[in-house]
Amino acid sequence: MSRLISLIVAVLFAGAAIAQPRYPGIGRTATPEEIRAWDIDVRPDFKGLPPGAGSVKRGQDVWDTQCASCHGTFGESNVVFAPVVGGTSKADESTGRSAALQEPRYGRTTLMKLPHIASLWDYINRAMPWNAPKTLSVEEVYAVTAYILHLGGLVPEDYVLSQATMADVQKRLPNRNGMTRAHGLWETKGAPDVKNTACMRDCETSGKIASQLPDYARNAHGDLALQHRIVGAVRGAQTAPGPAVAAASPASNPAQVLAEKSGCLACHGVTARMVGPGLREVAAKYKGHAGAESTLAARVKGGGVGIWGQIPMPPNERMPDDEIRTLVKWILSGAGQQ
């Protein structure tokens, strides 16, 4: 009886909540179009995965123009990011455990870690390519995912990955059984796995220094004297000036702001060669060349390969021409060099 009453009360209360919201006038109902525009997440059970398909072959085209510049032609590069491909074996496909993860000498690639194919699809779809996220079509996302799987030896070169075949691939992922949630670190009320005691007197210690800062590391973060206050109980120790540790300060030159904003500096250092040449290297190469400005502008816009190496520079078709001009002029003037 009392349960019935509380049920009735609950229903009445729910009805009242709909009729009279707690905060009248705050927020509005989202439209189905708005939800579709933003609800892009894909779960391991493939909830949210849009219908579509993409071939390994198509994926290679996308990879070579949009991905290889950072991740390397075969997904093996560790120049900019950790490698995507490598370190997995046929045996892993049957066990679902990356054997190399038990070997401390190996670095970790994406495919060595990946427990769910959905996680990879979702990430490429939402965040790649690096400087133009969310611009790939559904077909391109399937295709690039297929190509990565092919580079990892998981699917043949004529494979087509689709909404229907994602589950097949999942069954072959090298590290699909490599995750555990058997620990107390998920919830704030979970149980700790490591225990210490609060001994106060004559506690057990080795009495030794187990590890100390190597000299190169002491000096690798710039002059620590310049990273401490000039008054107080201590000063920063004077350390050899290593590579300058730039304090996080915004760029003042508009062209440099543009270079940062447009992602140029992700691959080009101002002086240092990273994935591509340093910007001042570019300036030196084209010093005095007639038409250098339009040559470089065209290359920023359309991409290029073979001038500085075999890693292609991706096109920047969406960048306005006037911004490209500003940028190129700044680069040719020495990228802020006095």
Binding site: S119, L185, Q212
Partner: protein, 435 residues
């Protein structure tokens, strides 16, 4: 004895305005005088007195600056050394990187907004708040869109909480790697956050209390950073925040809207928050399937390791510092726990053999930084300083060897080991591991 009192590395210390070095040379004759007396004597300069007192400076004899000369104030020009900085070689691209907060210079528990640590996954943006929207959808009766106007009309709360990146101190799982507390522990900050409890928004949308088990939080930046949060956490003390130490969030920290998930690692505090989805399964997003996973010795990864367990670090004296002289020091630092309040902090000056209970400065708040301190007379000998936090659950901050015995050395994340700082006879303090 008098010889040993002369700081052997006095040259390391920038000469003070009162010409400290020549003064010290003269003071060597004061055999038997204590180091404390030396320090005290420094205030009476020679022969007539301290030029900083005797010669009136311009600021005492002239007209100062007018009001509103700087519409938004900034620190003194003499404070420019304290900046957030990158650790060279840690990352290759500055948009997916870290700028560490200069913990060595902070007082109390609040991090100044301009020095809050930074961690971005695909660069930061300064978003127009008039165009920013938050959508709450999924397993809700009424999926809703909120503008900043909507959110800021709601009853707000302000709470002080720490935020720590799960990878803080991650460079030190194996050997000592970096020189100062800025780089060992600087992915740590603590602010007063102002916002609306996430529970209020979930209730406003009529979330399905029977079936909802998790929420997904998603950022509006290029990375569209996403993290799964258990519904218990979402309904507990999680905030949708726009305020930070009395002003709006800084762009680097998610302006105009971020999630605040007290006690949980920073990656879950999604910045530029655009969407909350209510669901019944975890999403296993990239930041919980490929990163922020802890590699165990058996080759398995722990997934969804989120809680920042009790931890502490001495900030003065700390690595890369130079003690001015022998004598009194207020050993001080920070302690925090993702599981609640700090109950006690112990400090050792002999590498963990003997410990003393430190003073806790108020306020001592749940899931917030707590400042501790303990007086120490440095007599000029070598010392190893350590601090050890104990939280209200009784959990005792572990030693690095205890962590390694369970988790190995390759897990990167959640290193909450006791930190050791070695004080050399020269007065230079350096980062070591001792247990």
């Amino acid at each position: 004895m008098s010889g040993s009192r002369t700081p052997q590395k006095a040259g390391r210390i920038r000469p003070a305005p009162e010409q400290r070095r020549s003064f010290l040379r003269k003071s060597i004759g004061l055999a038997g005088g204590t180091a404390a007396a030396l320090l005290g004597a420094r205030a009476h300069a020679q022969p007539a007195g301290d030029p900083a007192i005797l010669n009136l400076p311009a600021h005492s004899t002239g007209l100062g600056q007018p009001v509103a000369a700087r519409g938004y104030g900034s620190p003194s020009v003499h404070e420019q050394n304290l900046q957030r900085r990158e650790s060279p070689g840690l990352t290759r691209v500055p948009q997916a990187s870290v700028a560490f907060a200069p913990l060595q210079g902070f007082f109390g528990i609040i991090t100044p907004n301009g020095l809050h640590f930074e961690r971005h996954h695909q660069g930061w943006w300064d978003i127009d708040p008039r165009q920013h929207r938050l959508m709450v959808m999924g397993m809700v009766r009424n999926p809703k869109v909120y503008t900043m106007d909507d959110l800021m009309r709601l009853p707000s709360v302000s709470r002080i909480h720490f935020i720590e990146c799960g990878a803080n101190t991650g460079m030190e799982w194996g050997n000592v790697a970096v020189p100062s507390v800025q780089y060992t522990h600087g992915m740590l900050s603590c602010c007063e956050f102002t916002g609306v409890p996430l529970s209020a928004l979930l209730e406003d949308c009529g979330f399905d209390a029977q079936r909802a088990k998790f929420v997904l939080a998603e950022g509006a930046d290029g990375s569209g950073l996403t993290r799964t949060i258990a519904i218990e956490r979402a309904l507990d003390d999680t905030l949708v925040a726009w305020g930070m130490n009395g002003e709006m969030l800084r762009p680097e920290n998610g302006y105009p809207l971020r999630l605040v998930v007290p006690g949980v690692q920073g990656v879950s505090w999604v910045k530029w928050l655009r969407r909350i989805e209510v669901g019944d399964q975890p999403w296993h997003t990239r930041e919980e399937a490929l990163h922020y996973i802890d590699l165990m010795p058996d080759g398995r990864h722990r997934q969804f390791t989120a809680v920042q367990e009790a931890k502490s670090v001495i900030t003065t004296p700390s690595g890369g510092q130079q003690l001015l002289d022998k004598g009194f020091y207020n050993v001080t630092g920070l302690a925090w726990s993702g599981r609640g309040r700090i109950k006690r902090v112990d400090v050792s000056t002999d590498g963990g053999r003997n410990w003393r209970v430190a003073r806790l400065e108020s306020p001592v708040l749940t899931k917030a930084l707590t400042r501790f301190s303990l007086g120490w007379n440095w007599e000029g000998g070598p010392a190893i300083l350590q601090s050890r936090a104990i939280d209200e659950t009784g959990y005792v901050q572990p030693k690095i060897n205890q962590l390694r015995a369970v988790r190995g050395t390759r897990s990167i994340y959640h290193n909450n080991a006791i930190q050791s700082w070695q004080v050399a006879q020269s007065g230079e303090v350096s980062n070591v591991q001792a247990y």
